[in-house]
């Protein structure tokens, strides 16, 4: 009997003790689009480091594939059930995720979007992300300056129709190049007479190569290629090389992955706008810890920075060299 009481008491103590620790330690959930993309792997790394430094408990989850909204919703529900008071999420589907986020916020959970906004953007408490329009402007300015006196015959290898990040980078590029372009809020791809061919690459190397090959058939006179990301840029380079045009055509891109930076060093990509997933996640964890301590929520949009990386600097456009890019890149160095 005594034995049983002792055990029950011990169990109760453990349970209370456990609860006390759980209450003091902020629980933060990070939900990425996929588990495997190096960009999100780097993001998880940043979150894990920040959580360790700040004494927070980090839960991570993801959709099964890019675009898997239901998987993200399930992950969010499970994390809130596990006691998470802060959710950091990279929305796979900017609209479809909104009702689930509203439910979470109604329960007092702080929700911060990382990397890309929800639609509407104020569905989350805050957004920590790259300024994708600015990322486009930087490579547009670079391309304009690097082209010099050559005629501007531009091919754009875009993401896919209707995605805000795809539109912002595309329109920012046109703006930076000095062409008429929609503003950062527009979800439409701007068109200009200098753009001789527009095609969707889905951010994929093989599809980017196919798109570039077809654009070369339409407009062999191309001098500048804008690409949504570095895999698409690698595909474009392959297509140009096979057509014997890899020397005379300028490729610019966005991302800053280690492979992309290496391609800048090798001269395949002229310049790329590098973004910082590690920083997005670290800032998100810090905000979550602050919320747990003081109840203070961040709000609005925070720019996590973007840097132009180019092997050959051009006059009038500030850029960093390949070494700086390599130090800060994500993926396999």
């Amino acid at each position: 009997m005594l034995q049983a009481t002792r055990i029950a008491l011990a169990a109760a103590l453990v349970a209370f003790g456990g609860a006390a620790v759980a209450q003091n330690q902020p629980v933060i959930g990070l939900i990425t689009k996929t588990e495997t993309n190096p960009f999100f792997v780097k993001m998880k790394e940043g979150a894990a480091e920040a959580a360790k430094a700040k004494g927070a408990k980090l839960l991570t989850g993801a959709g099964k594939a890019d675009g898997d909204n239901a998987g993200q919703v399930t992950a969010m529900e499970n994390m809130i059930a596990a006691g998470a008071k802060t959710i950091l999420i990279t929305p796979s589907d900017s609209k479809a995720i909104v009702p689930a986020i509203k439910k979470a916020r109604d329960k007092g959970v702080l929700v911060i979007a990382l990397d890309s906004p929800t639609d509407p953007a104020d569905a989350t408490d805050a957004l920590f992300a790259t300024d994708n329009y600015k990322a486009g402007v930087l490579i547009g300015q670079y391309a304009k300056a690097a082209l010099g006196g050559k005629p501007a015959k531009i091919v754009t290898l875009d993401l896919f129709p209707g995605h805000p990040v795809g539109a912002q980078r595309h329109n920012g590029f046109l703006k930076g190049f000095g062409l008429a372009a929609p503003d950062a809020k527009s979800n439409e791809l701007g068109k200009a007479p200098e753009v001789v061919c527009m095609a969707d690459s889905f951010g994929d190397q093989a599809k980017g190569q196919t798109a570039m090959e077809n654009c070369l058939q339409k407009s062999p006179e191309v001098t500048v290629v804008y690409t949504i990301n570095e895999p698409a840029a690698a595909g474009a380079f392959n297509a140009l090389k096979k057509a014997g045009k890899d020397k005379g055509v300028l490729i610019v891109s966005v991302d800053g992955g280690c492979q992309g930076i290496k391609d800048v060093g090798d001269g395949k990509i002229a310049a790329t706008s590098q973004q910082y997933p590690l920083k997005m996640a670290a800032m998100g964890v810090e905000a979550g810890v602050e919320y747990a301590k003081s109840g203070k929520k961040p709000s609005g949009y925070t720019d996590t920075g973007v840097t132009l990386i180019a092997a050959t600097p051009v006059a009038g456009v500030e850029s960093k060299d390949v070494k700086t890019g390599t130090d800060l890149c994500w993926g396999k160095k």
């Binding site: 190096p38 896919f160 190397q205 093989a206 798109a211 077809n214 058939q217 595909g235 392959n238």
Partner: protein
């Protein structure tokens, strides 16, 4: 035997895809003078080579009234194995390629054994192996693209000139494989057995044809084709891409269906599959030349798939 099968082939099902392809080509030729050039056609062939070769394996399986959802992912895994073995393990390129084809063949064998020995439906089996192949690809590659390949791995992407037109070796290989598959299916006993199993497995078994062996063989051979497609994909992009193959399973099934092969098994011509793959490639290329969004290619593909299946269904009713 051969002639009775030929009689059953519906003229619409066989000629439909060819007519659709010709009409599409004629239309695009009027829209852009660059469309109708040797270089452009060579390009379209290069662009459809990977899906085209996967679709040979897929056609064999669909002829037996089966289906393979795993083909694209298995192809991606083969590509990762080849490239990683050749770079990180430092294997001689030829051996690395054989290892890659070995892995895809192994997946075909596993699919085939589960279908024939445990009698699981092919749809479920290959749904399972699709996920398994995807996961292994991501885990083994760490989701990292494999670069700096030895030249031999990308040799099929090289081209040679026929007149002014540059043709890739990969294109030639694809056409040779179609030729071989056409011959085997049409002229050999093994090929006719594939049709027979798809038409009526029970009757086929009763006349003494080892249907299980035929089925198993079909899945294994399909695996070999996926391995060859891996090499074509690596040669085309110049890297081992862990994210390759994600749409190729449905693209391959689309090519087979567009080409007039019946999803109910037993009927179809392998060359129709090549035409089916070309239809998709021609629309993608032609619409870009017109400056129209390639989303319309997806729309047209959807409509043509339904037309193709409807034609098959109507001709079946007519045959009864």
């Amino acid at each position: 035997m051969s002639s009775s099968f030929k009689d059953k082939l519906p003229p619409l099902g066989t000629l439909g895809p060819f007519i659709a392809l010709l009409v599409a080509c004629a239309f695009f030729a009027t829209q852009n003078e660059r469309f109708l050039s040797g270089g452009n056609f060579s390009l379209i062939l290069q662009q459809v080579a990977v899906v085209g070769v996967i679709a040979i394996g897929q056609t064999l399986i669909i002829l037996t009234a089966g289906i393979d959802l795993s083909c694209g992912m298995v192809m991606a895994l083969g590509g990762i194995v080849m490239t990683k073995f050749a770079t990180e393990l430092g294997l001689p390129p030829v051996l690395a390629v054989l290892c890659g084809i070995g892995v895809t063949t192994l997946f075909g064998l596993v699919n085939g054994l589960l279908v024939t020995k445990i009698k699981l439906p092919p749809f479920i089996v290959t749904l399972g192996t699709l996920n398994i192949a995807f996961a292994i690809t991501q885990l083994y590659s760490n989701s990292q693209t494999v670069t700096d390949l030895p030249p031999l791995l990308t040799a099929l992407g090289n081209t040679f000139g026929i007149g002014d037109t540059q043709v890739s070796y990969g294109t030639v290989l694809m056409l040779l494989l179609y030729g071989a598959a056409f011959f085997v299916l049409r002229e050999t006993a093994a090929g006719r057995h594939v049709y027979a199993v798809g038409n009526n497995a029970e009757a086929t078994r009763l006349v003494g044809i080892p249907t299980q062996k035929v089925l198993l063989g079909v899945y294994v051979i399909a695996g070999v084709f996926y391995g060859i497609a891996s090499l074509l994909s690596v040669a085309r992009t110049g890297v081992g891409d862990p994210n390759a193959g994600q749409t190729e399973n449905l693209d391959a099934i689309t090519a087979v269906v567009l080409g007039g092969t019946s999803l109910f098994g037993g009927r179809g011509i392998i060359l129709g599959t090549l035409v089916g793959a070309l239809i998709v490639g021609v629309f993608r290329n032609g619409l870009t030349l017109m400056g129209v969004s390639s989303i319309y290619q997806v729309l047209v593909t959807g409509i043509l798939v339904i037309l193709a299946v409807a034609a098959d269904q109507l001709s079946r009713k007519g045959a009864r």
